[in-house]
């Protein structure tokens, strides 16, 4: 299961529409969640509208949060999204078999059995989360809190039975053509990582749309520089199957 978690505090202003690229991600089987940080002042009418739209197009959820609640919000969203994705799949099956539309329509006894299966899958499904952090100038004072929240998310992910890993990006890069920068490739252990965000150049531009495209590329090819890289996916898939066998 693949998720993008976008953390931002404002509106995009460069490149493709992030709503469009989020929709593209969804078609690739990647759910897009968005957290809008609202520490100082507001995120603005336009900003919060965009956040909602991106999440909607990306099949995920959106929420405004202060930095002090960030870790909590991230974990809640991640977990809910996993449950929801599984629930959607289960609902499709139910419709197929029973003609019912959702788990909620089942009588309590039957619901109980279905939820048992959903819980089991929630715990064991392999999970990949790409965190995409807005590093435009206004986000600078919040980055320490963001990093802390990411580390906390890793603790929770590691407690799952299924394979879980995350990757961290920030955007924009140092020069105009660089839409997103990979700070940390797929990992399940951040304890050795001293500092997630280094060499940050805070620029005013917020190319949210193009940055999402870069992350989609990364899910596809394992790199953000096009498709010229090694297919390391194969052995990984075997690992995923192993998780199901339990």
């Amino acid at each position: 299961m693949k998720q993008i978690l976008l953390i931002t505090d404002g509106c995009s202003n460069v490149g493709q529409s992030p709503v469009m690229t989020a929709s593209l991600a969804r078609q690739e089987g990647i759910t897009v969640n968005v957290i809008g940080i609202v520490d100082y002042g507001t995120i603005g009418e336009l900003g919060s509208l965009e956040i909602r739209e991106i999440a909607k197009a990306g099949g995920g959820m959106s929420q405004l949060s202060g930095t002090e609640k960030l870790a909590q919000t991230m974990q809640m969203m991640t977990r809910k999204t996993v449950v929801q994705t599984i629930q959607q799949a289960v609902n499709r099956e139910l419709k197929h078999i029973l003609g019912k539309t959702s788990v909620e329509d089942l009588p309590p006894d039957k619901r109980s059995e279905v939820v048992e299966v959903v819980d089991e899958l929630t715990e064991t499904t392999p999970l990949e989360i790409a965190l995409l952090i807005d590093a435009s100038a206004s986000m600078k004072p919040k980055l320490a809190a963001v990093e802390e929240a990411i580390r906390d998310l890793m603790i929770s992910l590691n407690a799952r039975e299924g394979m879980s890993r995350l990757a961290v990006f920030h955007f924009p890069g140092r020069h105009g053509g660089e839409d997103a920068v990979l700070d940390q490739g797929w990992t399940s252990d951040l304890s050795g990582v001293r500092s997630l965000f280094q060499h940050m150049a805070m620029r005013g531009a917020t190319p949210t749309g193009p940055a999402i495209l870069k992350v989609i590329d990364f899910f596809r090819y394992g790199t953000i520089n096009g498709n010229q890289t090694r297919p390391e996916d194969n052995d990984e898939r075997e690992g995923m199957l192993g998780d199901y066998v339990v």
Partner: protein, 314 residues
Amino acid sequence: MKEKGCSVTTSYRTSIPAGTLVTGRWRGGRYLVQRLLGQGANGIVYLVQQAGTRNLYALKMGYDALDLQSEINVLKALQGQHNAEDRDLSYLVEVDDFTLGDREIPFYVMRYVKGEPLSKFLTRRGGQWLDLAGLNLLKQLAALHKGGWVFGDLKPDNVLVSAYGDVELIDYGGVSQNGRSVKQFTEWYDRGFWNAGGRTADAAYDWFSFAVVCIHMLAESRLKTAANQLPQTRSTADLVQIMNQEPRLRPYSNWLKKAISGGFEHTDEAYEMWKRMISRKPVRHSVRRTPGWLKSAFAISLFLLVCAIYLTLR
């Protein structure tokens, strides 16, 4: 983890007014809402009266059908475990849906437990009651752990204490199977928050939370200071330091240290050690010295008595 303020489901978090009649969609059970009892991560709990009877129950309305069902599944499994020697862990009465306007709200009905949250109880009766409440809490946890479950979100609000220190755990929404990930937790009582280990559900996770609950009850301000420091520097050493500084915690410190480091074999051992500790605890009851005037007054009255006896017998 609490999920307050989630934008997706705000609409049904508003509470239902007293006097509302809740009718089950599937089984037709009818309950009259009397008042709000509390709020958990998965839903709102009301005190209800079963229509046509005088029976009082607690009724929990869920925010989300799946989350609530997941909690119900745990309760059902616990119900199956109840045996003759143990106290009845089960309290599930009925599970159903309630139609409110155009929404279906899932709910379940459970036994109504009278009592007050641990912190309120200890403020009212005094900190030394932690001895007994703690012992009873450990007993409850031991029973839960024996069945392969871990409570997870152990915090003062989730511990209900009745008049004589009997303890009931409420809000089973955070209960996880041993070995799985902890579903819900609260920062202060979370092992991960103190950089003291992971969030995989095991008995030690509950011991850790239990220890922080004790620290919270007897040294709240010190705990607050420790929790507010930089996340990277937070560690169990801070908790140990609080135990050494706070005189009220000192009698418990050996037990607490063992709990924080996950040093027990199983929860029964934790229970036995707690029991030994509270019975051996140096009784700090201030032995009031008998005042001098009382002693002399007693001597005089004794002397008078002897005189009186002598005079009568003479």
